[in-house]
């Protein structure tokens, strides 16, 4: 096994370099804040790294890691005191009004997502961020396709309720520019 400067398998480090940012984006939607997202991805990568030598070369590490992340997040949710410290200060350093507005909207979306029940949140993230089909989401969460549909329906309704105008105007800001 070839290792990088930090002693990590080079192939694994390459995978993280290629997919890390996407994983972080999925994680922040699951957890609601960047600090916890970083923790979640790091913890999941540690578990993936342990299994890395045994993974089939044809295996899809994304699918494996997705499952780890969902399961890890579920176990954290059950003992959420451990990770969810009350932070969430809005970013202060912005360079323009537009950027400030987008960052504020981003924070609002994360906070709204964080208010949804865990499974509704997971379904929305897996369906609309990961773009997984309903059957795959059902397999990952260990429930039926009907349950996934119900969670997605209720989750979208709740998100719309929590975000109000920001939900209905989503995308319109960009179209104006």
């Amino acid at each position: 096994m070839r290792r990088d400067d930090g002693g990590v398998d080079e192939q694994f480090a390459g995978y993280v370099r290629a997919r890390g940012e996407h994983l972080l984006r999925v994680a922040v939607l699951l957890t609601g804040e960047w600090h916890a997202a970083e923790d979640l991805v790091q913890a999941s990568l540690v578990k993936l790294y342990r299994a890395w030598p045994r993974l089939d070369t044809n295996a899809d590490p994304d699918a494996y890691l997705r499952r780890i992340m969902v399961n890890t997040h579920r176990s954290w949710w059950r003992t959420r005191w451990r990770r969810e410290t009350p932070t969430g200060v809005l970013p202060e350093s912005v360079t323009s009004d537009d950027l400030a507005e987008r960052q504020a909207l981003g924070a609002l979306v994360r906070q709204a997502l964080a208010q949804l029940p865990r499974r509704q949140r997971a379904v929305l993230v897996l369906r609309y961020c990961e773009d997984l089909p309903e059957a795959e989401v059902a397999r990952l969460l260990g429930c039926s396709v009907g349950t996934v549909k119900a969670h997605a329906h209720r989750g979208l309704r709740s998100l719309r309720g929590l975000l109000g105008d920001e939900f209905d105007l989503a995308g319109a800001h960009d179209e104006r520019h």
Partner: protein, 291 residues
Amino acid sequence: MNDTEERVRHLFAVATEDVPPGIDLLRAVRERSASRRRMVRIRVAISAGTAAVVATAAAITLSAVPAPSALAQVTKAAEATARQSYHVRSVTGLKGNGPVTLNGEFDPARGVGEETSSTGARVRFAGGYMYLPLSDAFRAAFEKNRGISIPAGKSWARFPAPLRPGGEVTLIDLTQFGIGPSDLGQVSPQGLLGLLQSVSQVRQTGPASGHGWTGTAYSFTFTKAFGGPLHLVLRVKGTVGVDREGRVRQLDADYSIGRTRQRFEMTFGDFGAPVSVNAPPASEVYVPLGG
């Protein structure tokens, strides 16, 4: 794809584009990898040492069960103490500030507890949450930090932070709520008992005694790195007095988190006494997003 789904995808994209700088996703893997390599080296060294010990010990017949180690005594005492109700008195202070006295009562089995400082600050634990009184200073700092307005009539703010009988240390940075770190500890007594269950370096230092008890004193050190972009590290060094019933009676500790340094001198007692703490009335509680 309908409009609603399209909007959600757009909102998710916006919610994930402000990735903070300085995130190192491989850090935990690197640390684990380094620790495993160290462990392998230690195992090799121990194996060599063990062979010599086995050769020497072959001629010796053990006739007594060895006493539990200092580490086992301390972790067991912390575990036992953290499971029963107790009252705690603590004198604490930051370098350069005068001492502050804290009085608290905790019943981990019911998940309730409260701590009040001589400066008037208070923190209450109940039902898996931490409650902080919404003083004017706290309200102003919190509203400024979060850019929100707390409704009138709310006198408490609630955050997820259950008390657990032992387990991992909960880091509660009260300074973010506008409460000075010398007013209330960043680590609760329950958290310190949890910490004692995780210490790795313990040494018996001699006899110990206090009002109405005698026992044994131990010294300990503890280091814990918290995840996150600040890479905060909690370092604790102290002594603990364990009574003959195997309960923690005295806990003196110097700890540092980041640049904050603090000393605690805690006395535990009134074990099993009833604890009359309940969650504040729901109508008076402000619940922040995610709280």
